[in-house]
Amino acid sequence: MDRRDFIKYCGIATVGLAVGKAGRILAADKLLEESPLTASRWAMVFDLRKCLHKDGCTKCIDACHTVHNVPKIDIPGDEVKWIWKEPFDHAFEEQQNEHLPEELLHAPSLVLCNHCDNPPCVRVCPTQATWKRASDGIVMMDWHRCIGCRYCIVGCPYGSRSFNWHDPRKYLTTIQPDFPTRTKGVVEKCTFCSERLDRGLLPACVVDCPEKALTFGDLQDVHSEVRELLASNFTIRRKPSLGTQPQVYYIV
């Protein structure tokens, strides 16, 4: 090998090393590099009309309950749910004019935590285990701080919170490693998928809806999809007279 070959091989080896190294760094940083989704005020718009035609579809519920390891407990009163269907006349007790279309009256309406602007659950929590995030308005849960006193369940006018009366792992046939389960004695609810937003992913229910009935976006951004929907449709919210200012809107 002469001097030139030697230098050539040195060069090739260096490139090889660099490529190998870069590959490793990229692999290690995969989780971190994905840019998070951020907003000034997250909100959800649910198009009841689109959902109406999908009788018996539970894709959004299944998606949410799978990624968050929500157990399916069939004992009445002991169920744990983050998102579920409630007949229209239950979900919107206040907004029932007489002689509504029969179809609408019993329409299954998706309900979840409303991430209120003025959340009563936060006000009553003695340990600050639940709080409204200043940056984007999500009503968060800190499961490490929850002492299971259930004041928040009493405080929430929408029934959005569930208490773990049982060890949830007994009721889970499979567990997703990406999100911790909860344990007996703590309260849980929807968090607008805050852990997915951090990884640049939209909430699981929004992604998995085959009818695109769920829209998620920034209420403070005039050009966002949610704002466009709110500007072009008549929407209602659950129990508006309570002044909680829910951030889940329904197109009826």
């Binding site: 940056s135 792992r169 389960t181």
Partner: protein, 138 residues
């Protein structure tokens, strides 16, 4: 001193009971701590902990608390080590990525010390059969 015999027997029983933990542990081999298994010590990219071994031995529980609060309450998920490496702050996906066998790592120390962190009531061990049964990660 007609009670000497009884007193001696009493003392003997007392001594046996007092030293019970010592010889019980000695007989059961619990008093010998097995070294925690460093599964990735020789795996490139996984050969260094998120801090020095010395620091980790003394402070991993504080570091975990700090990680927990930063992620859950401040919504920051990336941890930068002193030497500039970046990690996703996750008990399951980061700590157990390099220390995959909880029984042979965390628990070897913890059993010896008789500490039983309740974290695993919620946080998932990837070796759990119900995790392995989950078809595809989401």
């Amino acid at each position: 001193m007609r009670d000497r015999g009884r007193i001696l027997i009493g003392l003997l029983i007392f001594l046996i009971l007092m030293t019970f933990p010592v010889w019980y542990n000695a007989l059961n081999g619990v008093s010998v701590m097995q070294e925690p298994e460093l599964a990735t010590k020789n795996v490139p990219g996984k050969d260094k902990c998120v801090n020095t071994a010395e620091y980790m031995r003394q402070n991993h529980m504080n570091l975990l608390n700090q990680w927990r609060d930063t992620v859950v309450r401040q919504d920051v998920r990336v941890y930068t080590t002193v030497d500039g490496r970046k990690f996703n702050m996750s008990l399951t996906n980061t700590c157990l990525d390099c220390h995959p066998n909880r029984e042979n790592f965390c628990n070897r120390c913890h059993n010896y010390l008789a500490v039983n962190p309740y974290c695993w009531d919620c946080h998932v061990d990837p070796q759990d059969p119900k995790v392995l049964a989950a078809k595809e990660p989401r």
